[in-house]
């Protein structure tokens, strides 16, 4: 699924790295606990979270993730957007809650493929 499609499905506002919207995402991970995210390795994944601090961006960078979706219209700080920009990670904010955001992407065919 293209990152652009994720933004459309979630009515999300893209906050940085718009030039990467046509990149592909193959899997997703939804969590507010960063070590849970770090336990999960998949290429070109999207992180869905309600947590907004710089460690979210660093976690995504460590995992080579390509996109972060903030749920419940949480807004990342300028500092976070700067970090994301530096690493080429697309950041977007959706008004949907975690459950609905994950369900929407899952129903649209974005699965967490089994290892």
């Amino acid at each position: 699924m293209k990152i652009r499609e994720i933004a459309r499905l979630l009515d999300a506002e893209v906050l940085c790295c718009k030039d990467h919207l046509d990149n592909e995402v193959y899997s997703a991970c939804g969590s507010d606990m960063m070590s849970d995210v770090l336990a999960y390795v998949k290429d070109q994944a999207v992180l869905i979270t309600g947590l907004t601090n710089p460690q979210v961006i660093r976690t995504a960078e460590m995992m080579d993730m390509v996109c972060i979706v903030f749920v419940r219209s949480k807004r990342p700080t300028e500092e976070m957007l700067r970090l994301a920009q530096e690493h080429g990670i697309v950041v977007m904010a959706t008004p949907k809650r975690m459950y609905e955001a994950c369900g929407t992407l899952y129903a649209a065919g974005l699965y967490r493929s089994e290892d």
Binding site: D32, M34, S35, A39, V41, Q55, V56, M62, E79
Partner: protein
């Protein structure tokens, strides 16, 4: 064999926001050195978890990374409280992190198990009241 490259970092225990910066630096350096992506990912994740632990559980410390041709060695040393029961701490889900830390996204009790999973060798030396040194090795595949 050629001599190991050595990187040294001070990990500031007072600053949660900057925690992980050393790991980001190491990731950058390993990329520049042309290490395999999988090796880089294992080193970055293990070091990042260790770095966060030093900040949230031990008041900061020192991080040293040695890059050899065939393996990367990460040494994380702190002068925190030590780990009373290492076997327990290694269990998935075990955490002593307070609610304030959990609200920052840490305290799932997955850090040490992740460090073990992403490295080929891990050794924990800990003394109560003195500190903890964790040595991890990742083979270059």
């Amino acid at each position: 064999m050629s001599e190991a490259l050595h990187f040294h970092f001070n990990v500031d225990g007072e600053n949660f926001t900057s925690a992980g910066e050393a790991s980001v630096q190491v990731k950058k350096k390993l990329r520049q050195l042309g290490m395999p992506p999988e090796t880089i990912r294992c080193v970055s994740i293990a070091m990042y978890e260790g770095e966060i632990n030093m900040v949230i559980h031990a008041g900061g410390g020192n991080a040293d990374v040695y890059v050899n041709e065939d393996e990367i060695v990460i040494v994380l040393e702190d002068h925190g409280p030590g780990i009373p029961n290492v076997e327990l701490a290694m269990q998935e889900g075990y955490s002593t992190a307070p609610e304030t830390i959990r609200s920052l996204g840490f305290g799932a009790g997955m850090g040490l198990p992740n460090m073990k999973r992403y490295t080929d060798d891990m050794k924990i030396d800990t003394v109560i009241g003195t500190g903890t040194t964790i040595t991890m090795k990742v083979y270059v595949k």
